[in-house]
Subunit: 128 residues, 4 copies
C-alpha cells in the first residue's frame, strides 16, 4: 500500500480497513490482524497501527477484547456507510459543484466522464 502525504498514515490505514469492511472483504464480527501483524505487513511502525485502531474503535467500528485482539462490530458497515454518506453530501459534493462552476464544466461533461470511468471498472459498477 502506498501512502499519500496529505493525510496521516494512521488515518489512511483506518480508511482502508473501513473500505474493506463495506466491500465485504473483512468479515463482520471477524477478527482483524493484530497490531504487530498488520504493522509488519504494511511496513510501518506499530504505533501507527495503534492509532488506526484507536480511530476505528472511537467510531464504534471495531472493539478490543483484551488479550485476544480486535474484532469488527456487528453494525460496523452501517456506521461506516452513514459516516461516509454524510461526508459525501455535506462536503465532497458541494466542493465538486464549486469546482465545476469555477472550471466551466457542464453536467453533460460530468456525466460522460463518470460513465466512461465506470465502464472501465466493468463488472463491478457496469450493470447500473
Amino acid at each position: 500500500m502506498e501512502f499519500k502525504d496529505n493525510k496521516s498514515i494512521a488515518l489512511q490505514i483506518a480508511d482502508n480497513l473501513s473500505e474493506k469492511i463495506i466491500e465485504g472483504n473483512i468479515q463482520i464480527e471477524g477478527r482483524i490482524p493484530s497490531v504487530r501483524e498488520l504493522a509488519a505487513e504494511m511496513g510501518v511502525n506499530p504505533n501507527t497501527i495503534m492509532r488506526s485502531y484507536a480511530e476505528l474503535q472511537n467510531k464504534n467500528i471495531i472493539s478490543n477484547q483484551r488479550g485476544i485482539g480486535y474484532f469488527v462490530n456487528k453494525d460496523a458497515k452501517k456506521i461506516i456507510m452513514e459516516g461516509r454518506r454524510n461526508e459525501f453530501f455535506a462536503h465532497n459534493l458541494p466542493e465538486l459543484v464549486r469546482q465545476m462552476d469555477l472550471l466551466d464544466i457542464s453536467y453533460e461533461e460530468l456525466k460522460a466522464s463518470i460513465h466512461s470511468l465506470q465502464n472501465n471498472h466493468t463488472g463491478k459498477a457496469g450493470a447500473n
Copy 2:
C-alpha cells in the same frame, strides 16, 4: 479570510489568488499587492505571503519585477484552468466515482443532490 487546517496558510492564499484570477477579480497583467501589504491585510507574516507568491511564480502564474512588485502573467488564467481541470479529471472525479460505487450512490441521486444544492444557492441570493 479564514483558514482551514488541512492545508498550509501559504497554499490557501495562493489558491485564493488563483481563484480570483480566473474569476476575473484580479486583472491579467495587473500588479498584485506587495508582500507586506497583503501580509498586513491577511494578518499573517510576510514570509508566509512570500511562500504563496513563490508557489504562484513557479507555476508561471505571476512574475516579479525587481524592486517594483509582482504581476499577473498574461496566460495566468489558462495555466490555472488547465492545472485545475487536469487535477479534476485525474483525481477528484475518479475519487468521486469510487465513493459513489462504494456508497451505492447512483448518478440519478447525484444529479438530484446537485440540483438541490444549486437551488439553495440561487435561492439564497435570488429569492430574498
Copy 3:
C-alpha cells in the same frame, strides 16, 4: 563549507548535495542527514536546510518519508546529470562561445589553457 554571495546559501547547499550524489559520495536510495543535523553541521538555520531539501524534492531528486527523513531517489543521478547537461549546452556553452568571440580567443588558445589547468590540477595531487 564556505558560501559565495551571488547565490542563496540554501541553493548552494542543494547544489552541493547534487554534486555529491553524482560523484557517488551519497548513496542512491540512501538517507541524507536530517534537517537539524545538517543545519548544525553547516552552521546554518534549519529553515535554510529545509529550503535546500524542498528544492531537491521538487526536482524529484530526494523524497521524504514522514517522521523518518529524506532519501535519495533511485533516478536522482540521471535527473541531476540531465538537468546540468541541458543547462550546460543551452546556456553555459553559448555564453562561452560568445565570450570567445568577443575576446578574440581561438579554440586553440582555449584548448591550451584547459590543458595547462589540468596539468596544474594533476600536478598538485600527483607530482608531490
Copy 4:
C-alpha cells in the same frame, strides 16, 4: 533589452555598454547617452543608469565632463578586454573544466558543440 535576475540591472547595462564598446558600436572618445535618455530608452529608473555609469567610471572606461555628459575613454577597449580576459581565464574556464569533468563531457564533444555554435553565427565568426 531583457534582464536576467541573477545580476543587478545596473551591472547588466554596464556590461552591455562595455560590449558595445569592444564591438565598436560605440565610438571611442565619443559621447554616450545622458542618464535620462538611456533610462527612458531602457525603461528603467535613472538611478539605475547612474549606477551603471558609476561602475564604468570606476573602471576608467568612461569619464564625466560636468554639465556636458559622459565620454568613452581612449583606452576603454583595452581595459575592458583585459578585465574580461582575466575573468575568463581565472573563473569561467576553470568552472567550465569542472563542469565537463562532472558531467562526463569530452573535449571532442566540446569542440564539436563550439564549432556548431560558431557556424550558426555565420559571418561574424564563421571565417575563423
